[in-house]
């Protein structure tokens, strides 16, 4: 029984990690007032790039780095469309997302169906030997802890730093931010690149650690979960992280319950992660004042500088 609990908790941390990377990036992008719906495509590009680079070079570091760069390049296409050509953010995001899915197939073409050795777990000495806690918390790879670090970093930057204040100002009222001298377009551009790089890391975590193989369509809708997590987590990194872990936990629990042979229809169980995550996040954020406070006022609107 204890083994099963360790499996569930440790598995939850791993299952949530790809979502966390992408969601932290998207939180920053949306806080800057841009709605980027291309996460699914960016994660796919990151997944394929990371896998291809790590397979060819044998280096996980270059795999993750190139995944981040690759997805950031894709997100720059989106950035140019919405920031310079003032394209509709929803339409541009969907288009770039589909483009990304196509690109991922192209990048991964020579690696379709191949496997790779999973990113090795960190050597934490006696910590990993601890009963229970060691198995749950201290037997993971480096990137999982990096993701946790990113939650704290994004939370701190957004709510406690000057940079976060500027990003939020750009997202709340680009006119005002521009009037006091902040380069709105540049800040949004950088935010989008950051979002792209993070989605790329999330994708690469999928193919290099969580499911160490490449196959077309491997991201399997996780990018869309991220979009939902950010909105239902009310753009607050800690709530988004909670949502991601909750989602991870319920999706594992679903498989576990099925194996136990309870007579609950498996279709209902398969829908559970989505239902429970959304219900809990909605209940947590049912206060309309909180939503108004956190919702970036200019989210999704094109902005150009009036001369």
């Amino acid at each position: 029984m204890l083994d099963s609990i360790v499996f569930l908790l440790a598995g939850t941390l791993a299952a949530a990690t790809p979502l966390l990377f992408a969601a932290m990036g998207e939180a920053v992008v949306e806080k800057a007032g841009v709605l980027n719906l291309s996460i699914e495509g960016m994660m796919a590009v990151g997944a394929a790039t990371g896998f291809a680079v790590a397979t060819i070079s044998g280096s996980y570091v270059s795999g993750f780095a190139m995944a981040a760069i690759g997805s950031a390049i894709l997100s720059s296409i989106f950035a140019v469309l919405v920031l310079f050509f003032l394209a509709n953010q929803v339409a541009a995001g969907l288009a770039v997302g589909i483009l990304g899915l196509g690109f991922s197939v192209l990048i991964g073409k020579n690696h379709e169906g191949q496997t790779i050795k999973s990113l090795p777990d960190l050597e934490l000495g006696w910590l990993s030997e601890l009963p229970f806690v060691g198995g749950v918390l201290f037997s993971h790879d480096l990137m999982l802890y990096v993701a946790i670090g990113m939650i704290i970093l994004v939370w701190w930057v957004l709510s406690h730093s000057r940079l976060g204040l500027i990003i939020r100002a750009v997202g709340e009222s680009p006119d005002a931010a521009s009037a006091i001298g902040y380069p709105v377009v540049l800040i949004r551009f950088l935010a989008i690149l950051f979002g792209g790089a993070m989605a790329g890391l999330g994708g690469a975590y999928l193919t290099l650690s969580y499911t160490p193989l490449w196959a077309e369509g491997l991201v399997a809708g996780r990018g869309w979960i991220v979009v939902a997590l950010v909105v239902f987590g009310m753009w607050r990194p800690l709530r988004i992280a909670l949502g991601a872990y909750l989602f991870g936990a319920v999706s594992l629990l679903e498989l576990f319950i099925q194996g136990q042979g309870f007579s609950i229809p498996s279709q209902l169980l398969s829908a559970m992660p989505y239902i429970i995550t959304i219900v809990i996040l909605v209940i947590m954020s049912r206060n309309p004042r909180l939503i108004r406070l956190n919702h970036p006022a200019s989210l999704g609107q094109s902005w150009h500088r009036n001369a």
């Binding site: 197939v105 496997t115 196959a215 399997a220 099925q258």
Partner: protein
Amino acid sequence: MKNRIRVFRTAALTLAATLTLGTAQAQETFRIGYIYPSPAADVGWAHELDEGRRAVEEHFGDQVESVIVENIPDGPDAARIMNQLAAQGVDMMMLGSFGYMNDGLKTAKRYPDIDFIHASGYKTLDNLGNFLTRNHESSYVAGMAAGYVSKSNVIGMVASYAIPEVIGIINAFTLGAQETNPDISIKIVWLNSWFDPSKAQESARSLIAQQSDVIFSIYQDTPSVVTVAEEEGVYVVNTSSDMKPYAPTYLLASMKVSWGDYFIEQVQASMDDSFKGESFWGGMADNAVSVESISDDLSTEQRATLDARIAAITAGEFHPFSGPVIDQSGQEIVAEGDTLSDADLLGISWLVQGIETRLPQ
């Protein structure tokens, strides 16, 4: 000359197809169009279809020419590709997905001169035949091996959807395992998704955490489950392709399908104008299914028992669903001395006793 087109997304599809297929040339050779639903990777469904194509090319040499179109989703894209192949003047078409059935029927009616063979469909025309494999035969034998090696007496299965073909495989595997190990119990995780390698891996891990020491990966096109088993050190059985390279230590057996003989026969028939649109349900006797890479961890006697069963199934002396077969509710479905008919097997919708998980209703 091979005309290989790779189409990635709908937008690029029409253009690419027009460009590449547009270069039709005067035909002397027998041209065959192959449409695959997914990329022909190193393992999996499309890979095995492509192996069939290779066998045809090897057998007929310069007499045949292949046009391969990979990764075509069911629906309008498939219909367009079929029409384009027909317009380009292929003599025969291999439709590699169940979902191509209705478009295939329409195209076959419109082009009576072209012969079609369709994977896993159930409708036929004079110029459209379909093909399926008796995977329950290889599944029974693989199940016997699983019964031998299991120490915890728990086998875990990762399955996509509860369609008759999958249910047939699960039941036969269970019956095989029960023959060699009467105490065996079976846990199934239904993914309710055709393709989610990450979820498949998590399912395998969760089944292992629940004491399964043999994992059965059903219709997973990627080695997702197989690699987890190798990593966790439990035996694994998989379908479609031989996945030994992905689990050199813990692969117990692979249930392989082979289309080569059937494809060659049908191409020959089409060349001789003797093609008949028939349903082919190929088993061990037709070389369409086989059990490959059986683990050396089985003892010599155990191995001999498996080989004897394989020989009996091939000779038609043994049927995996030989009575008495009892379903989960305790009802006797096949009586002592009887076997399950093909029609019942094609529509199978019950699980045998010994499986803990219920069917999704």
